[in-house]
Structures are given as structure tokens and as C-alpha cells.
Symmetry: C2
Subunit: 341 residues, 2 copies
């Protein structure tokens, strides 16, 4: 089934079931007012939501409304946990290569993961707000899952069974703040502002055969200012599956229902700068930092600038028939003063 | 006023107003069912909660119940954000001195802060669960505040005005997992399992003159296995006030109501290993790591072990008359298998 959260003036919005073709939706206040409420009591809520979804797809009932992606908040407008992995080691290899450093061997067996802020996500069609372009504003297109409760020390098999929903993410990163912040030793904080998630979150079964080994085996479609920028397959070169990422997060503590675990920037192994861009036949990139790393490796310095105010980022994923699965994240970078006005 | 959350079988528990002397409490479902709900609509809820608090203290009404700290969950059983600073630079200085390293000059002007997990806190009288003593289980006794909404780029003055409540924390840390995790560069994750907070959260005015410059100028009382272990003054040697810590957290993003910001391990400047312990007239320590650092600096290696299964930790703060302000965190370390049983 497919679920979304419609903005209604409240902090958690209103849960709706969305038709498979993303054309209609149905509020389900009798089942759960919000997505977090449904996740809190998933065993009871999920079968009812599934029935509502099937009825909506069959055109039954009269309460269906047109579904408007622009009216959506992120599926969880705020969450109790956002833990973002870095499962595409190719991305890490490029980072290291650009600064002439080796990738530690442990990185291939022990996932990188950071604790992200989850108190107020951005809607999929809302602006990326920043106070300065000098922060080095970058997108990071990723896949993420939402889990149920997970016990401490869960195996990847147990973790796999706790995966409830899949969605897309734009994990906005402030590149120019990262070096100083990581040098302090406590990880990202100011360099990771609010993320945005796709309008729709779907159960893994919606992905059919493309949900394989707890990975999503489909191309992620990233456009920058209306032009194709990335088309990497999210199922390829993913060193750690979502089951492994969730188990990593749960090694020393329980995870509570509604925990979001991200894949990290999707990144496929490619050759050179020239051949890796979409226009030259490559699969492109899911963040500006990656093309800048190719530029650094080959030319000694990055050339492509980070995002400027007015730039747009679109992140989407299509099924085999070219239909959008999750709806599109589509954001414009804006100065925070415009929001305050 | 004083607020607490009573366990009621639901994930967020039930909000109660607690009498100043911690003897009685009053459910306030007509005002807000949970503390998060009150924080979400603080302008409306706070005056009503204050009136209920005053009536409870005056002995008015008949719905008052005996207040039982052992029936409490953490004031926010789960939160949308837990950002923990490291405001007592003495602690950082000892960490560095123990490994013969300098403290970077920027650490005195730019706070250390990490994003903690907030999906499922531990109750103040619940066990500290771990799967292995080999993890190096340690307490960290701290003070924390809960904020309302804070705009991006807020000044310390604006941040100060957004501080809603104050409470105590045991920020459990797994010391033996920290070096490898920080070496990976993404900060703490597995090394910071679930924290526990004091039974009661109080508005800053409850601290009277002891809430000064957005610091709590009172000794934090830490007992280990029933013996005094730490008595440092939380208002001394705090390099960054809570206003500064909240502003740091908000530099590049908005903070949503219910954000918890911690002080980091309370630590006062002292002299030597001998003189710093409570039994020798010092103010002691708020974590085992600190006494181990003194041992390393003076003897080349730590001697004091980390926590073992069965060890107990008690964290409290008294007013001038010796009365508990927040109630006591009082936890026993246990193997997670005991919970699963």
C-alpha cells in the first residue's frame, strides 16, 4: 500500500491512503489520524489500511479525493529517529580518493551511520531554506525505510522483518561546514539541516521484484534545474542492505516504531569524470559533492558550484512502466528570510 | 511549575502536574494528555498548567494523587530531538590531557554538540540495559533543557526565551565503543544508547536565583552504589550557557518544540586525583571516565572499572533546604536478556 501525510495545519498532518497510480487519496481517521499513530500500533492498523488501499484502487467508496503531491508533508513530518547510513561505498571511495586517502578495510564490513535531526522535516515541495549560499548547500538523493520496533542486538533477519515502509530522501548537506564540524570529532550537526522525504511512503511489497535482498533495485532519478543529473540504480553497489543498516542501528539499543533509516547518497561505480555524467552516457550523481570529487581527482580542484538560491532539485523513482512510485521531491533553494517574511 | 509523565501503558504516558514538594500530582487530561502535546501548544497550555500547579500546591481540589517517582517515565518518554552539548570544557581538557593532546582554541568559543537518539528514552527508575559489560558502560550526569520552537539563526537571547523546562539526565555512554566509532568520523551512534531523564521537569522560575545566566547554579548529586561520587556545581565552569547551546543547535535549522538540549557531563576544575574525590574533600565526578582520566594522567593507566551488571547510579539535585527538585534518577545496570525474559 501507499501512504502519505496531507498538511492540515497541525504538526503531524493527516494520514491518507494513496492509490497506486497516485491519482486519488483517502483520509482514514477511523484507522489512524497520523502515520506515527499507525506505526505505533501497526499490527492493528496495517490490515485496515491495506483494505482501504485496495478499495481505493478498485474505485470503491465515495470519500476519495484527488491526490496532490504539493499538499503533502513528508510522510513523517517529524520523527523520533532519523539514522542515516552511508551504504554506497563508492561514494566514500571517491571522497577518500579526492584527498589521497585510503578507505579503511573496516568500512566494507562496518557501516558508516550518523544520527540526524528529526524534529522538523521539510515537505517534499517546500523550499530548502538557508541563511547563506556560503554554507555550500548540496543535495543528497537517497532511499530510506521506516521501521517498527526493533529489539537491541537484532540480527539482519529480524531487522528485515521490522521494515514497514520505503521512501525517498533529500538529505540536504552544508558541505562547507562539514570539514570543521567533523574535525571536532562529534559528527555532523550544523552541517545537516532538515531533510525532505518523498510525498508517498510505500510498503516493500509495492516494489514487487524490485525489492530484493532488502534493497530497491531501480534507478533513482535526480534532476537539477530541470536537467537530468543522476540516474544510478539504488540496488547496485549498495554494500549494506537496509536489513544490515537497521541491525547496525540496533546493536546497542532498541529502536522504536517510526525510526527512519537512510541509505546514504546513492552512488554507482563508474569510470571517469567525462563518462560518469548523464549527458555522456553515465548514470550521473546524487549529490554535487560527487561530481566535484571527480573534478578534483582528474583536475586537482572542483569546478561545479554548490546550490545557489533559486536552484531546483527533483528526486523521483519510476516503475518499469515509467510511473512515479513515491511521487517527486521537488524543492527550490531559498533564503530563510523569505520564510520569515 | 513541575511536570512529570506517569507510565500508563502508552508510548507517551500521561502528563501530570507535580506539587513543589514532589508529594502529590494531578493528571491534567483537560489541558494536555502528554508533555509533548503541552509543548506543541505551550502558549495555551502553560497558563492552565500553572493554575493547576498553584491549586495543587495550595491543597485545593480532590483529584490529587500521591506522586510516585518510580511510576514515572522520562518527562518526554520519546522526543523529536536530543542534542547533547559538552559545555564543561574541564571534561574535554582532562580527556585531551590523558592522551597528551591540546584542546583546540576553537573549543572555547564553538560548542561541541552531538545528535543523540531520542526514539525511546529509559525511565528514571528503569534499568540501564546492555548486552555486554565489555562495552564499557558509563554514566554521564548532566542537566538538560526542553525548548519550544526556535527559528534558524536564533541569537542566544532568542534561544533563552525558548527554554521551557529544565531536568537532569543520565546520558549512558559505552566507552569501549567510542574510540572506533569516533575514528570513523561520523560521531557517536552505537556508543550512545538510550538516556534516562529525571522524574520531574521544572520551569526555570522554580530554580529561583539558582537559574542564573541560563545555567543551574546548584550541585549535582551523583551516587554510585550508594556512595557519594560527584557533587560538582552545575553552574560553575560551564563554558557555554544553555542559551548558547540552543543557539548553536539552531544555527542552520529551526528547532521544533520538544527539542532537548543537554549540557554534557558536569565537571568542575579540580587539582589532582587524590583531592578531586568526594571522600577527600573534592567535588568528585559525573562519569567514571573522568576519574579514569585523572588516573591515566597521574599513573599512566586507568584503574577504576566501568559499570558492572548490578551496579547502581543515582542522580539528583537539592534546593537550599535539602529537598529534591527534580526527583532522582536511580538506575541499576542489567543484562538485556533480563528484559527479554
Amino acid at each position: 500500500m501507499k501512504l502519505a501525510t496531507i498538511k492540515n495545519g497541525k504538526r503531524d498532518g493527516q494520514l491518507v491512503v494513496v492509490s497506486c497510480d497516485l491519482r486519488h487519496c483517502l483520509p482514514v481517521p477511523g484507522i489512524a489520524p497520523t502515520l506515527q499513530a499507525a506505526l505505533d500500533d501497526w499490527e492493528a492498523a496495517a490490515p485496515q489500511l491495506q483494505r482501504a488501499y485496495e478499495a481505493l484502487n478498485a474505485g470503491a467508496g465515495t470519500d476519495a479525493q484527488p491526490f496532490d503531491e504539493a499538499a503533502c508533508h513528508s510522510p513523517l513530518p517529524r520523527a523520533y529517529q532519523w539514522a542515516d547510513g552511508s551504504a554506497y561505498i563508492n561514494h566514500v571511495e571517491l571522497v577518500r580518493k579526492a584527498r589521497n586517502a585510503e578507505v579503511p578495510a573496516s568500512f566494507y564490513t562496518d557501516p558508516l551511520m550518523y544520527q540526524g535531526g528529526s524534529d522538523s522535516f521539510v515537505g517534499p515541495r517546500d523550499a530548502i531554506y538557508a541563511l547563506s549560499e556560503e554554507w555550500g548547500i548540496d543535495l543528497e538523493a537517497e532511499v530510506a525505510v521506516i521501521t517498527g520496533d526493533v529489539p537491541m542486538g537484532a540480527t539482519p533477519e529480524t531487522a528485515a522483518g521490522a521494515i514497514r515502509l520505503v521512501m525517498l530522501v533529500n538529505d540536504v548537506s552544508l558541505r562547507n561546514l562539514i570539514p570543521n564540524e567533523l574535525a571536532k570529532g562529534f559528527g555532523f550537526f550544523q552541517s545537516k539541516p532538515a531533510s525532505a522525504f518523498s510525498p508517498v511512503a510505500v510498503t516493500p511489497d509495492e516494489l514487487g521484484a524490485h525489492w530484493q535482498d532488502n534493497k530497491v533495485r531501480l534507478p533513482l532519478r535526480v534532476d537539477l534545474n530541470g536537467k537530468p543529473f543522476g540516474r544510478p540504480n539504488a540496488g547496485e553497489d549498495m554494500t549494506f542492505s537496509f536489513a544490515q543498516l537497521v541491525a547496525h542501528a540496533a546493536r546497542t539499543r532498541e529502536l522504536a516504531a517510526g525510526t527512519i533509516v537512510g541509505s546514504g547518497t546513492v552512488s554507482n561505480k563508474q569510470g571517469s569524470l567525462h563518462g560518469s555524467s548523464v549527458e555522456n552516457g553515465g548514470v550521473g550523481y546524487c549529490c554535487l559533492a560527487e561530481v566535484r570529487m571527480y573534478e578534483t581527482i582528474e583536475g586537482g580542484a572542483p569546478k561545479t558550484p554548490f546550490l545557489k538560491f533559486g536552484d531546483t532539485v527533483r528526486i523521483e523513482m519510476h516503475d518499469d512502466a515509467g510511473r512515479s512510485i513515491f511521487g517527486a521531491i521537488d524543492q527550490t533553494v531559498r533564503h530563510y528570510e523569505e520564510k520569515a517574511r
